[in-house]
């Protein structure tokens, strides 16, 4: 049993949890993730470790309510427990002093860019961060990202805050600045965003990494649920990744595979909502309570 020591709402439907897991906190490095199982009936869901506190023995994860499992987690509070937490899984981000590094975080993907940005900064990089969301209310970790970046750029799709537009618009401007060449781009966010980033950087031949988020089961290389195609070769994200060269990644395939259980998830979420006595799956008032 793993105790939740702190819960914080970061944005609409987005929560941050601190979970007591001292041995994971001691070992984890930027880019790694954990797999949680909420209870005996629960599925195993991967979540990136956004931060850790070795002294307190806690790890930080950030979740967005999208389906039954994340709704269940979001409903928990400090003092509640999670049945299983296993990690740290995956390969840590390869950190070195690249020079000028751009971290792109879209939506809740910013939770992953934060530890990577922090590690890059510590390794001596000049860190430019671009974080974006659909609208101002959904933006997360702005202050945290600012604290690890030399420069922070914010975008919203609807223009309610920061630059009106997509992270890729701002990224393109940075790449066009011939005087300050970009050495590496690390993108984490919804798959279409990462695909778009890869397309923007490709003509500039700037090394671009993406942190992939496929469906997983065991997270130890045993099942192959998490397989993706990288430069024509099959890789298991849980053991070979989660970061891969974005220019080599078959994002279309990843999008398709992530929709594998689209129908089943809908059933599950409706079932959950039904048992919660709610009318629909995304009843705002209830989920905020």
């Amino acid at each position: 049993m793993f105790e939740i020591t702190e819960k914080k709402k970061l944005a609409h439907l987005v929560y941050q949890f601190k979970i007591k897991a001292p041995s994971i906190a001691k070992k984890r490095e930027a880019g790694q993730f954990v797999i949680l199982r909420m209870n005996e009936h629960g599925e195993r869901i991967p979540l990136t470790i956004a931060d850790s506190d070795n002294e307190a023995g806690t790890i930080t994860v950030i979740v967005q309510e999208v389906g039954r499992s994340t709704m269940l987690l979001s409903g928990l509070d400090a003092g509640d427990t999670i049945l299983d937490v296993v990690g740290p899984l995956g390969m840590p981000t390869h950190i070195e002093n690249f020079g000028r590094a751009v971290c792109v975080g879209g939506g809740i993907g910013t939770a992953v860019t934060f530890p990577i940005g922090a590690a890059l900064k510590e390794a001596g990089n000049e860190v430019i961060s671009i974080i974006g969301s659909r609208t101002k209310e959904l933006l997360i970790l702005e202050e945290e990202m600012r604290s690890v970046s030399d420069e922070l750029l914010v975008t919203t799709d609807d223009g309610s805050y920061g630059h009106h537009g997509f992270v890729t618009d701002v990224l393109k401007n940075l790449l066009d600045d011939k005087k300050k060449p970009v050495d590496i781009v690390i993108a984490v966010g919804p798959v279409p965003m990462m695909r778009a980033v890869a397309e923007v950087t490709r003509p500039y031949k700037v090394k671009t990494l993406a942190s992939l988020n496929p469906i997983m089961v065991d997270g130890t290389g045993m099942c192959g649920a998490c397989r993706v195609t990288i430069a024509g070769e099959v890789k298991f994200v849980c053991v070979d990744g989660p970061e891969f060269d974005a220019h080599d990644t078959d994002f279309d395939e990843l999008i398709m595979r992530n929709r594998s259980y689209f129908k089943e998830e809908k059933t599950a979420t409706e079932e959950y909502a039904y048992h919660q006595g709610q009318g629909g799956c995304c009843d705002e008032k209830k989920t905020d309570a």
């Binding site: 629960g42 499992s69 296993v86 990690g87 065991d218 045993m222 099942c223 397989r227 398709m256 594998s260």
Partner: protein, 473 residues
């Protein structure tokens, strides 16, 4: 011991049939297929054994169980004693009685089998172990005083659990580190409920815990502590039983379409995560209308029979050789046939095709014929030119074998492995190339059997004990 006249009498007793669920009934549920012997049947079957002086069956048993002895105890109605006798050499008789390929081991060489059907040794083993468990007669042995030594076991499969049980009985402290949320390895995530009810595995694990084995789930060695860290921090020796858990794919087009599973994934979803009870359990699985399982081993048979129980229209096995070469156990093939599995023998897939949503819709196959024998002595399958055809199917399950799990190797490169990534050991002692580290089971053998994994673990436990006593490597 038994006079010739009586031997003749005994040889007239027919093999006791085992009651089982009717095929059309059982494909609608996940309950165990055979019911098991009644006490009377067990005694009658035990009477078929002629108590050979030089029992061939014992030589056929990979761990050398004293088979005539335990059978005699059953004949005498001493069921509990029979179970204890079994446990002297086999820590998991309820498991082995169900999943061992007895027809290739003890029963293959049983003298009675020369003329008729061999003694049903496996069924008797299952009977005794079940009797003991169901009658609450499982007793915890006396554990000797602590030797002051600690052993770490990596992996909670049959190899790891056996090593842990043996070592704790020798007075060492043992911690098992298991990556998944439940110990049991393949017994929990791979072998289906209808062949090995999970409550049996759970009760074996419970027994180990009662003996004092500390089992830490959710602990991936190499990601939390490495083997070096285990050895330098707390432990005097390490046993690695991390299994062969890396599924192979075929490297043919369309393999990543939605609906194409590895057998490991499909079975894990259904067995470990209980997807057959979705949405009561949260993990989904695609049940499919037309399911094709590729491969012909036990895992393929398990995947196919599991798929059948999710009630699609058709489940077929696609295998590139003929029925004769099917590596699965005869009993499994027979059960599969009874349940309506379709066998597409001498077939091989060459491509998976899908729709615009990236979902599997069909497999392109070729037909094969058998040519000259290859290195393994089996006749090599050859493609028949122009035999391509399309098989409609929306779920495909690949069951073409597993490689070694690379997690240990990544962080302990000083443990020598062969070209397939399997750890190399000294056969007699289970020692690896790294001081203080022993290994056994599928991580050493590649895909193998429960009983061989247990045999490895027992040998390794004995030499770990010796190493801990003498300090000599």
């Amino acid at each position: 011991m038994i006079d010739p006249k009586e031997i003749r009498e005994r040889m007239k007793i027919p093999k006791q049939p085992m009651g089982e669920q009717e095929p059309m009934e059982r494909i609608k549920n996940f309950y165990e297929v055979p019911h098991g012997y009644t006490e009377e049947q067990a005694i009658e079957e035990a009477r078929r054994c002629i108590q050979c002086k030089n029992p061939l069956c014992v030589d056929g048993c990979p761990v050398g169980i004293d088979i005539p002895y335990f059978i005699r105890l059953i004949e005498e109605g001493k069921f509990i004693e029979a179970a204890r006798k079994l446990k002297e050499t086999n820590g998991l008789p309820a498991v082995c009685g169900r999943v061992c390929p007895q027809e290739d081991q003890c029963e293959r060489v049983c003298i009675i089998g020369k003329k008729g059907e061999p003694v049903a040794i496996g069924r008797l083993e299952k009977f005794a172990a079940d009797y003991e468990r169901e009658h609450g007669e499982v007793t915890i042995p006396n554990i000797p005083k602590w030797t002051g030594k600690k052993v770490a076991v990596v992996g909670g499969g049959p190899a790891g659990l056996t090593a842990a049980g043996d070592l704790v009985k020798m007075g060492h402290r043992v911690t098992v580190f298991e990556a998944l949320h439940t110990p049991g390895g393949v017994l929990m995530y791979g072998i289906p409920e209808f062949r090995l009810p999970k409550k049996i595995v759970e009760s074996e694990v419970d027994y180990l815990r009662k003996m004092g084995v500390d089992i830490q789930c959710n602990s991936v060695v190499g990601k939390l502590d490495t083997i070096d860290e285990l050895l330098s921090e707390d432990y005097d020796a390490v046993f690695v039983g991390s299994g062969a858990g890396l599924p192979y794919f075929m490297n043919i087009p369309g393999e990543n379409l939605v609906g194409v599973y590895s057998a490991n994934e499909f079975l894990t979803r259904v067995n470990l995560m209980k997807a057959f009870q979705f949405p009561e359990y949260d993990t989904p699985v695609l049940k499919g209308k037309r399911v094709a399982v590729i491969g012909g081993g036990n895992t393929a048979m398990d995947a196919a029979r599991t798929a059948l129980r999710l009630c699609p229209e058709e489940v077929s096995i696609i295998y590139r050789r003929s029925r004769e070469e099917l590596p699965a156990r005869e009993e499994e093939i027979h059960h599969g046939e009874e349940e309506g599995l379709v066998f597409r023998l001498l077939h091989n897939p060459i491509k998976f095709t899908g729709n615009d949503d990236g979902r599997l819709t069909a497999i392109e196959c070729v037909k094969m014929e058998l040519g000259e024998p290859d290195d393994s002595g089996r006749r090599r399958p050859i493609v028949i030119e122009g035999s391509e055809f399309t098989l409609d199917c929306d779920v495909a399950i690949l069951s073409i074998g597993n490689g070694a799990n690379p997690l240990i190797q990544q962080t302990s490169p000083d443990i020598k492995t062969n070209k397939w990534g399997n750890i190399t050991i000294d056969q007699d002692t289970g020692r690896t190339s790294k001081k203080g580290v022993f290994a056994g089971g599928d991580i050493v053998r590649g895909g193998s059997t429960v009983i061989l994994a247990m045999g490895d673990a027992r040998r390794a436990a004995n030499s770990i004990d010796e190493y801990l006593k003498t300090g000599q490597w």
